[in-house]
């Protein structure tokens, strides 16, 4: 049996996905990025192969994607997240026409045609509005763990609105809300609403072919509150894949697998 390793060196976390010849995921791991991307990737590659008891000789190819993709010195190939997202999305279901990926540093909306080809993509402007970083910073100022944001927001009973999409300004607005005695749950819902509005802007810009399913990828898709808000803004329930945070790494691995299959023997 041979395997392919996909590494998504993101701005906050590095994700590893190992697939077999059928494209099935046989192992995965996620670690905080750390300062040395290459060293961190190597170390965690070792750990993953040891845990899975796989001889590295059986690994037929390594591919990197994500913001730090070029720093993974032992990768055989690099691709951008746009291509990786498209491949993974299409492998989940060919009905996907849009993929929304909210990453630590940027958010992307990719539109696909019926054969899975990228027809357009849009990324957020170069600031942290509408990204995972926005949630990370603002949740810290509320003293709430990122993983608790979703469940808490579902208990909101009042609509508040944040006037700023800027992380820094939003943080001070949150402090004012807290000082005014607003419930955390309502403030969190307002945060989700702000991000969803940003994503909606990108969604309208990414010229979609026709209506199809919308896939919500990236770690933020684990947040049920965000899923609910985004679905309500888009008037359509977004589909959250299993392990949404590993979608880019999976797409990269599938890209390399497809490429190797096409190679003349």
């Amino acid at each position: 049996m041979t395997y392919i390793l996909g590494i998504d060196a993101g701005s906050s976390y590095i994700k590893f996905v190992l697939i077999d010849e059928t494209g099935g995921i046989i192992g995965k791991s996620i670690v905080p990025r750390g300062a040395e991307i290459d060293a961190s990737c190597r170390k965690n590659y070792e750990i993953l192969s040891e845990t899975l008891e796989i001889d590295q000789k059986q690994i037929d190819g390594i591919i990197a994607t994500g913001y730090g993709r070029k720093q993974v010195s032992f990768a055989d190939e690099v691709i951008t997240e746009i291509t990786a997202l498209a491949i993974a999305g299409y492998s989940i279901t060919p009905n996907i026409r849009m993929i929304i990926d909210i990453g630590g540093q940027d958010s992307k909306v990719v539109s696909l045609n019926e054969s899975g080809k990228v027809i357009d993509f849009v990324m957020n402007q170069k600031c942290s509005a509408g990204t995972g970083k926005f949630l990370e910073v603002t949740s810290a100022s509320l003293g709430v763990k990122v993983e608790d944001l979703g469940p808490l927001s579902l208990n909101a009973d009042k609509d508040l609105s944040l006037s700023s999409t800027c992380t820094v300004f939003a943080e001070s607005e949150i402090i004012s809300f807290v000082a005014a005695g607003q419930k955390k749950e309502n403030i969190i819902k307002a945060l989700h609403n702000t991000i969803s509005s940003q994503i909606l802007g990108l969604y309208y810009q990414a010229n979609a072919d026709d209506q199809g399913e919308i896939l919500f990828a990236g770690g933020v898709a684990l947040n049920d509150g965000m899923v609910t808000q985004l679905s309500s803004k888009l008037n359509q329930r977004v589909r959250v894949p299993e392990n949404p945070q590993f979608i880019c790494a999976l797409g990269a691995a599938l890209f390399l697998k497809n490429k190797q299959m096409k190679k003349p023997v």
Binding site: T83, F121, K126, N207
Partner: protein
């Protein structure tokens, strides 16, 4: 007689422009600061030396001084959200190491609204601050087929003549005016012909070279030297007979270049992809074709600038470039500075998408490097290349 090379003429034009400005000031000759699409021909025909603060801002950006100058503009409490050309100009007051020692103080200001509203406010401020007389020309959009509007513009041009005469006591020299218009017309035509060389593959002049050839049409349009420069450039770049296609995907850059970059565009293209055209350089190809009367020619030329066109006309034009230059993908520069230019990007992408022409948006600024994130731009362009490759 050996013809001068385009390079020699360009160097001369450039140095002369800055030296003449300083010299004119010393000799007490009238100097005007004018916006990019002001009817320079009238001013020259009245003995006024014209300088373009926008073009100077480009020089400052290309010599890597923009960031410091923009920071210096803060000393006059300007918000950093303004157009960076204006901020660079406002920064000159508080900055010492100015390229060419800075521009001489003008005796009059001429501003037009055929590109944006920013220039009007910018020049109004200059006028107020330095107590310099200002003349504003209003160019309504789509004036071409409306005689009343054409008449309105013509009357403003005539008032400009009166204004300059009041300031300088110089009458207008009709002979010089006609020559200037003839030169402008020729310059624009040759500039267009030079671009058209790139309809073939391989292209003759990269988009970067075209950017570097822009100065004469911006700052010396109407002069014989500008005509000679473009004639020489065209002559030096005649299509070679073996013009077989090299198969690279031909890209259009939509909007302003990035003046602070050595190559004016982000350098993340490999040999499979080539920017064959930046439509910005063609914004300067004004249409002087309406009639033999110089005033009439200027009415059309200056009212129908790209930024003054109605949205659909802009989109039709870019679409026609996509067809004529066999463009396979479009990179739209969302230039933070220029609201006018930003407005057409989203509708343009929708149009292109309907025709299956892939496009992307790259966010930055034409002159302020603080708004340029190399990695983010690289990621977008690399993703675009992958998308084009897969399609």
């Amino acid at each position: 007689m050996k013809l001068e090379s385009s390079k020699t003429i360009l160097t001369k034009l450039f140095t002369e422009y800055y030296l003449t400005g300083t010299q004119a000031k010393k000799e007490g000759k009238p100097i005007a600061f004018i916006t990019a699409f002001a009817p320079v021909e009238i001013l020259r025909a009245m003995g006024v030396f014209c300088m373009y603060p926008e073009s100077y801002a480009v020089v400052c950006a290309a010599s890597k001084k923009a960031s410091e100058m923009i920071h210096a503009s803060r000393m006059s409490s300007f918000t950093q959200d303004l157009c960076s050309y204006s901020l660079i100009d406002f920064g000159t007051e508080h900055y010492e190491r100015l390229p060419y020692g800075g521009l001489p103080d003008p005796d009059m200001l001429i501003a037009t609204n055929n590109q944006c509203g920013t220039t009007l406010l910018w020049f109004k401020l200059l006028s107020k601050k330095k107590n310099i007389p200002l003349f504003i020309i209003d160019y309504p959009a789509a004036a071409d087929d409306r005689p009343a509007l054409r008449q309105y513009i013509r009357r403003q041009h005539e008032s400009l003549v009166e204004f300059v005469q009041q300031q300088t006591s110089n009458p207008i020299d009709d002979q010089i005016l006609s020559e200037q218009i003839a030169n402008s017309k020729k310059t624009c035509q040759t500039w267009k012909n030079i671009h058209e060389l790139n309809k073939q593959s391989p292209i003759r002049l990269s988009a970067n070279k075209l950017i570097n050839a822009l100065f004469p049409i911006v700052a010396a349009k109407g002069t014989k030297s500008a005509c000679d420069y473009y004639e020489a450039l065209l002559h030096e770049n005649q299509p070679s007979p073996e013009n077989e296609s090299k198969g690279a995907t031909r890209l259009l850059w939509h909007g302003y270049p990035m003046w602070f970059l050595a190559k004016k565009f982000p350098g993340c293209f490999d040999t499979d992809f080539q920017i064959v055209l930046d439509d910005y350089t063609l914004w300067w190809d004004l249409d002087y074709s309406s009639g033999a009367d110089p005033m009439e020619a200027m009415t059309k030329a200056y009212s129908s600038t790209y930024l003054n066109w109605p949205l659909n006309q802009k989109l039709d034009w870019v679409e026609s470039l996509v067809d004529e230059y066999a463009i396979g993908g479009v990179i739209c520069h969302a230039n933070r500075s220029c609201r006018r230019a930003l407005a057409d990007i989203v509708p343009l992408r929708k149009r292109l998408s309907k025709r299956n022409i892939p496009s992307i948006i790259v966010e930055s600024d034409m002159a302020n490097p603080d708004f340029y994130s190399k990695e983010q731009v690289r990621l977008r362009i690399e993703s675009f290349r992958e998308t084009l490759r897969a399609s």
